[in-house]
Amino acid sequence: MTDSKYFTTTKKGEIFELKAELNSDKKEKKKEAVKKVIASMTVGKDVSALFPDVVNCMQTDNLELKKLVYLYLMNYAKSQPDMAIMAVNTFVKDCEDPNPLIRALAVRTMGCIRVDKITEYLCEPLRKCLKDEDPYVRKTAAVCVAKLHDINAQLVEDQGFLDTLKDLISDSNPMVVANAVAALSEIAESHPSSNLLDLNPQSINKLLTALNECTEWGQIFILDCLANYMPKDDREAQSICERVTPRLSHANSAVVLSAVKVLMKFMEMLSKDLDYYGTLLKKLAPPLVTLLSAEPELQYVALRNINLIVQKRPEILKHEMKVFFVKYNDPIYVKLEKLDIMIRLASQANIAQVLAELKEYATEVDVDFVRKAVRAIGRCAIKVEQSAERCVSTLLDLIQTKVNYVVQEAIVVIKDIFRKYPNKYESVIATLCENLDSLDEPEARAAMIWIVGEYAERIDNADELLESFLEGFHDESTQVQLQLLTAIVKLFLKKPTETQELVQQVLSLATQDSDNPDLRDRGYIYWRLLSTDPVAAKEVVLAEKPLISEETDLIEPTLLDELICYIGTLASVYHKPPSAFVEGSRGVVHKSLPPRTGSSESAESPDAAPSAGQAAEQPAVIPAQGDLLGDLLNLDLGPPVSGPPLAASSVQMGAVDLLGGGLDSLLRSDVGGSPAMGGSGFTAPGPAAPAAMGAPLGSGLGDLFDLTGGVGTLSGSYVAPKTVWLPAMKAKGLEISGTFSRQVGSICMDLVLTNKALQVMSDFAIQFNRNSFGLAPAAPLQVHAPLAPNQSVEISLPLNTVGSVMKMDPLNNLQVAVKNNIDVFYFSTLYPLHILFVEDGKMERQMFLATWKDIPNENEAQFQIKDCSLNADAVSSKLQGSNIFTIAKRNVEGQDMLYQSLKLTNGIWVLAELCIQPSNPSFTLSLKCRAPEVSQYVYQAYDAILKN
């Protein structure tokens, strides 16, 4: 009697038999047959061949049969659009049925059939259903508008459905309101600019009322919608919070988390002195903790969100450490998240408990978990100074267990502890050295080598130890090789007499026998440094290192604030803004926390403005970051590719590398370095070093800067105002704005780097992707001193056009990667074409005439330059400043005709005829060129130059 009978097949060809049954006269047999078809569908079998037969069963008064046929239709209509049209009449008829259940079912199913022809017929029934007397039909119709919008957005707008949908927000039935809100939110997602959800105090009030009455799912939609509202002052924020707090006790965890999002966001506007602020903080803790007693999947999402919340407002959960203690049978993904939060909550008050737990975890079975637990002990030591000693002794205990991976992790973290508390715990070095032989992971080996090099003077047999590593030099990973090189150089500088041979050996291994350019470069720079000025070498290599920062894995404040606005979404699970990963997120609007207000400051306060501005600027950033990344990552982010590999340039390269050198690749190995960076071997230099090296290096290039800097004020090629290319939100606090200029034959990229993060930025480097005209930096990006928070620096980066060429779309698109000590960032920008107009672009008259005739007419392009009131002479001189040369001027019937030429850096000539009527502010520009695809961009350049 069960449905499994529907799965049995006969030998005779199943489809054939089903066809016969579907066409049977007996109702019961028909229904059984449709059920069989549905059963096949559930397991992914293709039964689309039965389409006409199934559709024939649609005309029935049996609701179950009708539903089954509809189920089938939804699955297969797309593949059989012509057949699907057969169903339309029945749909339209059903939309008029006296039974609201059938009306709703029909309109709902029609919306699911994604066939253009059907959607045309959908409009009328949908319009009726949106105004149906039965709320069940209205709420179904509301959702249907969203479906239709997804298929044909234009149609929905033309038919005025959006307005009807907006009206439904004021519907008397809370279910209808919830669905209307959900539908509008969905539509708004694909239309960020359309002010669809026009939230004002009145509509907010309606939503809050509906919130109390609608189903749990509707509550989620409404809460998510509320979160996008910007209250006008703290009083309004408080009153919304008061009405949202009861949701914290809802049994549905998604409702709870959406409520938390609203509260976290609006709390930002409340003054911390307010009593209510404290009450709210207290109310937030219990529901968050309760989420942790739910199913493990829910726990995981909750934990990822709690991770954000404790970074933003640690006070909420500071007393709840124990609920994050790991249970033996938690799934591993829950365990790892809990560990993370435990460290974030660790403080002097609870550190003893935390350490005891971590020590317990370090003896568990799961290797990943154990490793993370050992690391966590190290992080505690760095975070809570008072506990450092206990942490070190715990780590030593763990090393005594001799469990291989525990020992290795412990050594890696002890290295960090040395950097945080220098000259305090070096007594343990002897214990560490005992375990030298058991280290087989590169990171642990590198850490150990760093320790030996750094404290060579305290380790009697440091030379022997390092020598033992040197034996298998070529089999080591790059990380270890670089570390070993640096460590031996350090050793040599500390004990020069005994280790001369060793240093010679490592330098020759690195420079002569290695294929790795990073290693070679570092080898060369050490070699040169040691041979020219050992004192300087000592200052550089043994420079005092900055202490490592307290918490290395905190999310950048700008990003954190954005993520708080996305609590409960996928973004909060991935800890990335949706724009970074959601496919096809067209112009995602960046959300930002409301500014804290007194009571007068409104939402339009300047604080809020920048984020909106950045959102508007977004088109400059290529949406499909994926391919850009792929392309740029293949390039080595090093100094410029131009110029022959002269000694000077190799010194430069070495220098950059040295700064980033051995010291730091090790020191920061677990701090920053994305794998991509590690691969390119371009490691982060310590901030102290650039100051030392900057001056001598920059001297040659300084001249160049002076030159360009000086000319910049003279009249010259038109320079557009700077625009933001890389918003801080996308680049962990680094904001880049810039423009392009051309002065006396040299192209410059004028940049302003602004540090909007909390930490110092250093070690900047820039790299272009291949582009249409081979633009490439002619010198490395020189930022002479580390960039302190809130500091800006202006840089003029000289460019040349000898880089590799690849046609871009649009043609003047330039993809840029900028690196600093934090990460590598990518953006793309469009450069105005006139920076490529060369100074010798004036063509001989005869030549001009001949060429004009020679270029076929289909290569001619015409453009209108509107709203320009200059006269012919002014135009001519203005254009000449940007290397567009007037060859002849004629007056034909009161019109001035200018004949002009220009040449691009790659030798392409462009000929122009500019027609100016004195009375008409609109000029006509005709362009002829053998490569007509540039015309459009030349026109854009004309337009820009003439209008500025």
Binding site: I38, T42, T215, S249, P287, F325, N329, I332, T401
Partner: protein
């Protein structure tokens, strides 16, 4: 917000046995990413619930040996999806008595109808069991016989009454000859006890599950002797929050049938009584292929009630080959493949404490195991809510009849773990 694009049900051996698409059809091959993650996780419980693939996100839950894998295409609240998936599983359980591959396959058409009714274009439509049951009748042997004779269907053809009212969880026209209201106060103790027997962490997760079979539109209020215990509570939507805030009384018009009224947490700040203690000695000798195992379980602070249904499970270290033990009470098994020792103790009588003792055989030559196994204990105490929560009275308004009322208390071990 186009929430769930498709749903795949996958069994433990990796067969996709049901798929449902709410928009266009997504190829089964998208599950390959899931299988990959599953392989990496080794243990089924460890498959991460959110997986990203080049074009989709897979959000999954693992329930009753079935993976519910949903395919998502846009930014969506994962909790929304996970809650919904659990609701789907609950509905299957409710309809078919169990949420298993066989049950689902046996009722595939109903399953499909249910899924269609529960979600429309990513918007959950009807997830309340009361409403669903009016739209689609659950299968019973009797009904399928009747249906096949009379040709009637199991799809309701009138609009469910609760669907649009302000109490969507209750259907109208409920009628019983015996009117009953039962409440089960169930408390689970989650605890971590360290080697020395002191409590590292303990809390009580409590729920009140109700079975209400009352005619008409009863309006109930439930009050407690000590409502202060409940400071962290999650409510069923039927509960009037304002009444609770002001009077600490649970006031509600109940759904019909079984449902969870509230769940609550009594945290470690309040003292959580631990009803059992464990004395243990598990040691492995250096350079020898054996070890000792000696565990005794005893009752404490159980307010005169008997601790029963005691089961202890231990994941022994990998190096353990076999165990030779004697139990003074109950029986034990050791699975040499999974290394799980399970001791079914039964009831604890304070006069004669159950003990399990003997020799552990290790792989010869293997190093002495570093980790000490954790003991997971299960137990049950009838007629006791360990937090001390007590129902004071239940009053009914709105209806005239006199219902049968009953409250049952039970305390169980949740994640109760003793470190050694």
């Amino acid at each position: 917000m186009k929430m769930i694009h498709s749903l795949f049900l996958i069994n433990c051996s990796g067969d996709i046995f049901l798929e449902k698409h709410w928009k266009s059809v997504v190829s089964q091959s998208v599950c390959d990413y899931f299988f990959e993650a599953q392989e990496k996780a080794i243990d089924v419980e460890n498959v991460p619930p959110v997986i990203s693939t080049p074009h989709h996100y897979l959000i999954s839950i693992y329930r009753d040996k079935i993976f519910f894998v949903s395919v998502i295409q846009t930014e969506v609240p994962p909790l929304f999806v996970i809650e919904f998936l659990h609701r789907v599983a609950d509905t299957f359980q409710d309809y078919f008595g169990e949420c298993s591959e066989t049950a689902i396959k046996d009722n595939v058409v109903i399953v499909y109808e249910l899924l269609e009714e529960m979600l429309d274009n990513g918007f959950p439509l009807a997830t309340e069991s009361n409403i669903l049951k009016e739209l689609i009748k659950p299968p019973t042997i009797l009904r399928s016989v009747v249906n096949s004779i009379t040709g009637s269907s199991n799809v309701g053809d009138t609009l469910p009454t609760g669907q649009l009212s302000n109490i969507p969880w209750r259907r109208a026209g409920v009628k019983y000859t015996n009117n009953e209201a039962y409440f089960d106060v169930i408390e689970e103790i989650d605890a971590i006890i360290d080697k020395s027997g002191s409590t590292v962490f303990a809390e009580i997760q409590g729920v009140i599950d109700s079975c209400i079979k009352l005619s008409g539109m009863p309006d109930l209020s439930l009050s407690f002797m000590n409502p202060r215990l409940l400071d962290d509570v999650s409510f069923h939507p039927c509960i009037r929050f304002k009444r609770w805030e002001s009077e600490r009384v649970l006031s509600f018009i109940p759904p019909d049938g079984n449902f969870r009224l509230i769940s609550y947490r009594v945290s470690s700040q309040n003292l959580v009584a631990i009803p059992v203690y464990v004395k243990h000695l598990i040691s492995f000798k250096e350079n020898s292929s054996s070890g000792r195992f000696d565990v005794t379980i005893g009752p404490k602070q159980n307010m005169g009630k008997t601790v029963e249904g005691v089961v202890m499970t231990v994941h022994m270290p990998k190096a353990v080959l076999n165990m030779n033990l004697t139990a003074t009470q109950g029986s034990y098994t050791f699975d040499p493949v999974t290394k799980v020792l399970a001791w079914d103790v039964g009831k604890i009588t304070p006069q004669k404490l159950p003990n399990l003792k003997g020799i552990v055989n290790l792989q010869s030559g293997a190093p002495k195991p570093e980790e000490n196994p954790s003991l997971n204990i299960q137990f049950k105490i009838q007629q006791l809510a360990i937090s001390g929560l007590k129902v004071n009275r239940l009053d009914m308004y709105g209806e005239k009849y006199k219902p049968f009322k009953g409250v049952k208390y039970i305390t169980k071990a949740g994640k109760f773990q003793v470190r050694t």
